[in-house]
């Protein structure tokens, strides 16, 4: 159903089709992206053609773009529901029309930005740095109240939408370090309480120091 619409979209516009054929194996790169994000395979070629159609149409003339837009918009919308059912945070909207050509290697970067934009709409993520003492509220699966985590950020691993922070605290006499994905929809609120001046990006030395350096009321 979605693939039929995809092929209709491709054949409807002549110019992107010719350009697609001379690029080397587009479905392979997008298959990589799709397996990594658990999209259905029929949905992914549509997304590529939609990006390529935009880029080439805008590169060539305004007239084929008007034709490509309503066709790919409808395909986008209906496959958008299929994707929304599968993955956690999918971008239903189309990216802002950029006048630059989109290279296939940049697709993951673009999709990552879309995910981050989607997550940013639900909650604002403050600028987090190692050394910040934060308070984090997270939704647990079968509980109504949000659980609270406090602690100092000892590491931040930047990986696009899977950016994680590692938070350390002494709980009941034992040091606990929890790694949280920052853009996860389970995390409802992050606030920075204080900031401790540190001269490192990763504060793994804290676990070898006295417990009082990791204790936060």
């Amino acid at each position: 159903m979605a693939s039929a619409a995809a092929t209709a979209a491709v054949s409807g516009v002549v110019l992107p089709h010719s350009l697609l054929s001379h690029r080397s194996s587009p479905p392979h790169i997008v298959a990589l992206a799709s397996s990594f994000r658990r999209l259905s395979l029929c949905a992914s070629p549509r997304r590529t053609t939609h990006l390529v159609a935009r880029a080439d149409a805008s590169a060539e003339a305004g007239e084929p773009e008007a034709e490509a837009e309503p066709v790919s918009a409808s395909a986008d919308a209906e496959a958008g529901e299929a994707e929304g059912a599968v993955a956690v945070a999918e971008a239903e909207e189309q990216p802002p029309p950029s006048k630059l050509k989109v290279k296939f290697g940049e697709i993951i970067g673009i999709l990552n930005k879309q995910f981050i934009e989607e997550a940013e709409k639900v909650k604002t993520v403050p600028d987090l740095r190692p050394g910040d003492i934060i308070e984090l509220r997270m939704q647990r699966p079968n509980k109504r109240r949000l659980s609270l985590f406090k602690g100092i950020i000892i590491a931040k691993h930047k990986a696009g939408v899977h950016t994680t922070i590692r938070v350390r605290r002494i709980i009941a006499g034992v040091g606990v370090e929890i790694t949280f994905p920052v853009y996860s929809p389970r995390i409802k609120e992050i606030t920075v309480i204080r900031h401790k001046k540190v001269r490192r990006a990763k504060l793994y030395y804290l676990k070898h120091k006295l417990p009082r350096f990791s204790t936060f009321k």
Binding site: V174, V176, E177, I178, P181, S184, K207
Partner: protein, 154 residues
């Protein structure tokens, strides 16, 4: 004391990959904690009388025990008047592990030490109190008594 430069708290850090001399390239290997396997020393955090237990066997897991698994251990150090004495072979549930345990929402938990709570072979607790924080991974493993007695659930 004879402990190496990177061993913290004496004999506790048994699952840390030992390094003879602190150097820059060992920083990464120091951070990677591994499973609880044979000869791992664990702290006992209930009032059953034992203080330290050495793992003899991990009951499940190809490479060793993780958070929430059961192990068989030998009591190495015990309090004078307790329910178990030194040299007993006991079962234990791992309630704190220095190795990260991933959760289904993408977060990961790790503690600063390895700790167990003694149980009998049917899974019932020997002690009557549990000290320190415990993770809620134990709920899935059906150790609800431990969760009920715990001071803090992480």
């Amino acid at each position: 004391m004879g402990s190496h430069g990177n061993n913290l708290f004496g004999a506790v850090s048994s699952s840390v990959e030992a390094v003879t001399r602190p150097s820059h390239c060992d920083a990464i290997s120091q951070q990677i904690r591994t499973f609880i396997q044979m000869r791992t020393n664990l702290k006992v955090v209930d009032n059953s009388g034992a203080k330290r237990v050495m793992c003899i066997q991990a009951k499940s897991g190809k490479y060793g025990a993780k958070l929430g698994d059961t192990i068989v251990g030998s009591v190495k150090e015990a309090q004078p008047r307790g329910k178990v004495k030194k040299g007993d072979v006991v079962y234990g549930v791992v309630v704190r592990a220095a190795m990260k345990k991933g959760r289904s929402d993408g977060s990961e938990v790790q503690f600063d030490d390895n700790a167990i709570v003694l149980v009998n072979n049917k899974g019932e607790l020997i002690g009557t109190r549990v000290f320190g924080p415990v993770p809620h991974e134990l709920r899935k493993k059906k150790h609800l008594k431990i969760l009920a007695l715990a001071e803090h659930i992480v």
